[in-house]
Symmetry: C2
Subunit: 196 residues, 2 copies
């Protein structure tokens, strides 16, 4: 065998990145479906079709894996949100609420709630929540073309994101789509009037 | 020993009711602090200073105990809310949000999230959530003197309760009081303008 050349290394890095991504996606699904108590590195490795050793190479601890997974999906969602074609404030309100009603929110919620009882998760998830929260707020302000120099505008946008989070929670046990559509339709009008 | 007279029976019923109440209160604290995974009938019985046998006499299963506990506190909170002196809509908005930031909301959240992964809890908690949600909505409409005949008013009140739930979630890992006060201050004004 000859020396490892940069050309050999590149596909290896690609494979490693692909494995990491499969693990992160499997971790989010696992958390959303089974909660923190049912989410282990082994279960995720099996779901991703990766050996337990390889999973532990990427993520030494259970906490590493699941916080990285929630962060990964949060970044993907932020990216998707940033690329939204701007179609007016009402459409932005709907898109923001949609962030909180899929499997990602379910996974994040499981992690948040577990962190409230598990000291080894608490600091990491608190820091992650703050980071994701700031980023979502920043994107919301931009998409809504909200002028935060005006008194009350910052709090209006924050309250909207709190409402979106509450709507996500209301969708946890039952399909709340029909009610949510009516609520969001009305609140989109209120937000439009308030930010005018 | 003579026959059991009604006079003997009354204190026995009182004791039984007091035991039941101690168990329910201990169950809420246990759920709020340790989550569903850390909440067992034994742990609650010990906390309440009641024998495991007596606890099981009142609540045959773990599901019975914890759903009854969340329902009990929900009823207490509804009662307290109904007895609020009416001081205008802004004060009502603050009082509604307060419902979602204490140990009761923490306990309910743990139960809701556990129910999303535990089939034996799902149907009971879904039914409980619907009942508590309808009651809270009814009280909110009354306290806000909201005229649900007017288009959009029902959805405005629902969205406010969704926001309150989201604010509760934001208070789970850190003390969010300062930010929440600013958000609620602003949204109380928006609600006042919208319901005028």
């Amino acid at each position: 065998m000859g020396a490892v050349t940069p050309a050999d290394r590149a596909p290896k890095q690609d494979r490693s990145r692909a494995t990491r991504q499969r693990l992160l996606e499997a971790a989010v699904c696992c958390l959303a479906e089974h909660g923190w108590a049912g989410s282990t590195v082994s279960a995720v490795a099996e779901r991703a079709g990766v050996s337990r050793g390889a999973a532990q190479h990427h993520f030494p601890t259970r906490e590493d894996l699941f916080t990285a997974a929630v962060e990964y999906v949060a970044e993907q969602r932020s990216q998707a949100l940033r690329e939204l074609p701007v179609q007016g404030r009402a459409a932005v309100v709907h898109a923001l609420v949609d962030l909180y009603t899929g499997p990602f929110f379910r996974a994040a919620l499981q992690l948040w709630v577990a962190a409230s009882n598990e000291p080894q998760l608490h600091a990491r998830v608190t820091e992650l929540e703050a980071r994701v929260g700031r980023e979502t707020h920043r994107i919301a302000v931009e998409l809504l073309a909200a002028d935060e120099q005006r008194p009350g505008v910052r709090e209006t946008v924050q309250g909207l994101l709190d409402m979106a989070r509450g709507l996500g929670l209301a969708n946890l046990l039952t399909d709340d789509t029909a009610r949510r559509e009516r609520v969001v339709g009305e609140w989109a009008l209120i937000i439009e009037r308030t930010l005018e």
